[in-house]
């Protein structure tokens, strides 16, 4: 018997019991829906985070200093690091200081960071309008500030505020630049930014200690070497490695990858259980169906159906059920993802590999759980099957 004939028989049998076929599929539908939606959400969130971290520069290494004792290291001292082959540039910031910012009657409490002039370019900050802090600002410890878009809106209700004056802890600053409007889908990674010249910050907060030392590697290959240099330097300055930590964005990405990988596996695993349960449901109904159709099987065998013909017919029925369930589940998954995108304010999409995985799993479930009932059907003896009422 040809395959397309078997397929036709299977389809007509499923059509004849449409309501039951749908109920049988329900387990698969829900399973595929759960798998695709969960994997897509985790995958999309990962991509967003990865993108935003990569946007901050994969060639950067940061050392955070938390020394309880004064280090007396100045920005100029850091030039020593520039002599290393693996390091292209060095920037530094002071620790963020919680400050009260006023503009007219608006007041916000934010963390103000003193930065070197190359910090903005290293962090790949982008301006909406205005300019970054310049070398001259650092040299003359001017009262200029660069603020992020959201803070600008909070203070001025507009981002057209370059040239406006704000007061930070009572001291007047001129806004010279506003950072770009964050895209909606930053996945909650946006931080408030109020940057002022590092020299100004040191004077204002009466603290000359550096907090973050950021080095830029000469290339992606030298990131590890640059990290090593920074570690050695930090160790020399601080002595106790409990009081500093060095991390590269790439390292961070690796950790993130690992975490999201585990998350995908766990969520996918849980969702797979529902697929498994769906498969068992299919097996159950197929077994009932085999019993119900004993006489039909007997007739088919009497007029010449071979074991394989019956086996193929029932396996195809199970697989078709699973594929149809899988497709409906995908459709539902699309709807679920559209809703998730809206709710989470994030572009969630279903990757081709997720679709293939879901359908592949459905077919596998159909095959695995269809074989047993089909085998039972094909092993019925024709005289007994014919006698069955």
């Amino acid at each position: 018997m040809k395959f397309n004939q078997a397929l036709k028989m299977a389809l007509s049998a499923l059509r004849a019991n449409l309501g039951r076929s749908f109920l049988t599929m329900l387990g698969i539908i829900i399973g595929v829906f759960a798998v695709t939606v969960l994997i897509s959400i985790v995958g999309s969130a990962t991509n967003e985070m990865t993108d935003s971290i990569e946007g901050m520069g994969a060639d950067l290494v940061t050392s955070i200093w938390m020394s309880p004792k004064k280090t007396y290291v100045t920005v100029d001292d850091l030039d020593e690091l520039l002599e290393k082959d693996s390091i292209k540039d060095v920037a530094a910031t002071t620790g963020g200081s919680n400050s009260t910012i006023k503009a007219g009657t608006e007041v916000v409490d934010v963390s103000v960071t003193g930065v070197t002039s190359n910090y903005a370019l290293m962090q790949e900050q982008v301006l909406e309008r205005g300019r970054f802090l310049s070398d001259l600002d650092i040299e003359l410890n001017t009262s200029k500030a660069v603020i992020d878009y959201d803070t600008a809106i909070d203070l001025f209700k507009t981002d057209y505020c370059v040239g406006s004056t704000i007061s930070i802890n009572g001291e007047e600053f001129e806004i010279v630049g506003v950072l770009e409007k964050p895209s909606n889908n930053m996945g909650g990674m946006n931080d408030t930014v109020v940057n002022i010249p590092i020299t100004t910050a040191q004077r204002m907060y009466k603290n000359t200690e550096l907090s973050n030392i950021i080095v830029q590697a000469t290339s992606a290959e030298t990131v590890d070497a640059a990290a090593q240099e920074l570690k050695i330097y930090s160790k020399r300055v601080i002595k106790d490695s409990d009081y500093f930590m060095v991390y590269s964005n790439r390292e961070f990405l690796d950790i993130l990858d690992e975490i999201t990988g585990i998350m995908s596996a766990v969520l996918g695993g849980i969702a797979s259980i529902s697929l498994l349960v769906g498969g068992i449901g299919i097996m159950n109904i197929m077994l009932v169906s085999v019993t119900e159709r004993t006489r039909e099987i007997g007739i088919r065998k009497a007029i010449g159906a071979k074991k394989m013909d019956i086996l193929v017919q029932f396996v195809i029925e199970a697989v078709v059920l699973c594929i149809a369930g899988g497709l409906l589940g995908l459709l539902l998954g699309y709807a679920g993802i559209a809703i998730a995108s809206q709710l989470m304010d994030m572009a969630v999409s279903m990757s081709l590999s997720t679709i293939m995985l879901a359908l592949g799993f459905s077919v596998a479930v159909g095959l695995v759980f269809g074989i047993y009932p089909a085998n039972k059907a094909s092993n019925l003896r024709p005289i007994e099957a014919l006698r069955y009422e």
């Binding site: 004849a16 007739i299 009497a302 010449g304 159906a305 071979k306 074991k307 394989m308 014919l386």
Partner: protein, 229 residues
């Protein structure tokens, strides 16, 4: 055409051993119309199952067209049933979800014939039972007599060597039963070998040769001379 020698078949039912067939030998030629008659429990159904290759005897020799089928595998028996034997059952045994046409087509699908050839043979068979005009009806839209004629068409579709009819009139009123018997006699006149299994002597009389079976043994065999057609 078929030749059974010393066929034995025993069933164990609980603690009782039932000798359904006890040393049955019979030969039937390829142009005969034979009825096998006996009361219920006589073993005639077992005999029909064995002749129809639905069951295998415990002992003895069974040859169809010279081939000993005692050693056949299940799949070989399926092929044999498909090609050599056309079944007509008391219960009609049509698939209720298929149309008359599709029911007749089914054995040809299992033969692997292409659709165009199937169509010719299906129409041909339906013409013989005079049901072409109802071929797109499902069994539950047909009368009992019509359903049995569809079943006969299905038996004829593969052009089998032997038609095996198990109480073909058992579920029909006497008038329709007569029509079906008339149809079977027609088919015999056209050269089909027919074996009719029945408990009804009146029906059995319409065959040219009658074999009586009682308690698993052949009680009498009229031979070909006993024709009463």
């Amino acid at each position: 055409m078929i030749n059974l020698q010393n066929i034995k078949k025993t069933y164990v039912m609980g603690e009782n051993v039932v000798h359904a067939l006890n040393d049955v030998s019979v030969s039937i030629n390829k142009d005969e119309f034979v009825s096998i008659v006996g009361p219920s429990g006589s073993g005639k159904s077992t005999l029909m199952n064995i002749i129809g290759c639905l069951d295998i005897a415990d002992e003895g020799v069974y040859e169809i067209e010279g081939q000993n089928i005692m050693e056949y595998t299940e799949n070989q028996l399926s092929t044999l049933r498909n090609e050599k034997i056309g079944f007509i059952f008391q219960q009609f045994n049509l698939l209720m979800k298929l149309t008359a046409y599709e029911n007749v087509e089914l054995p040809l699908i299992y033969q692997g014939l292409p659709a165009s050839k199937r169509k010719v043979q299906v129409i041909n068979a339906l013409e013989k039972v005079n049901l072409v005009d109802r071929m797109h009806h499902r069994p539950n839209e047909l009368s009992g007599g019509q359903q049995q004629r569809v079943a006969i068409a299905r038996a004829l579709a593969t052009k089998p060597s032997l038609i095996l009819a198990d109480e073909p009139t058992g579920n029909l009123d006497s008038h329709t039963g007569h029509e079906i018997m008339e149809l079977l006699r027609d088919l015999h006149r056209q050269g089909n070998a027919i074996i009719l299994i029945t408990h009804d002597n009146d029906v059995a009389k319409q065959a040219e040769r009658r074999i009586h079976i009682i308690d698993g043994k052949i009680d009498s065999d009229s031979g070909r001379e006993g024709a009463l057609v």
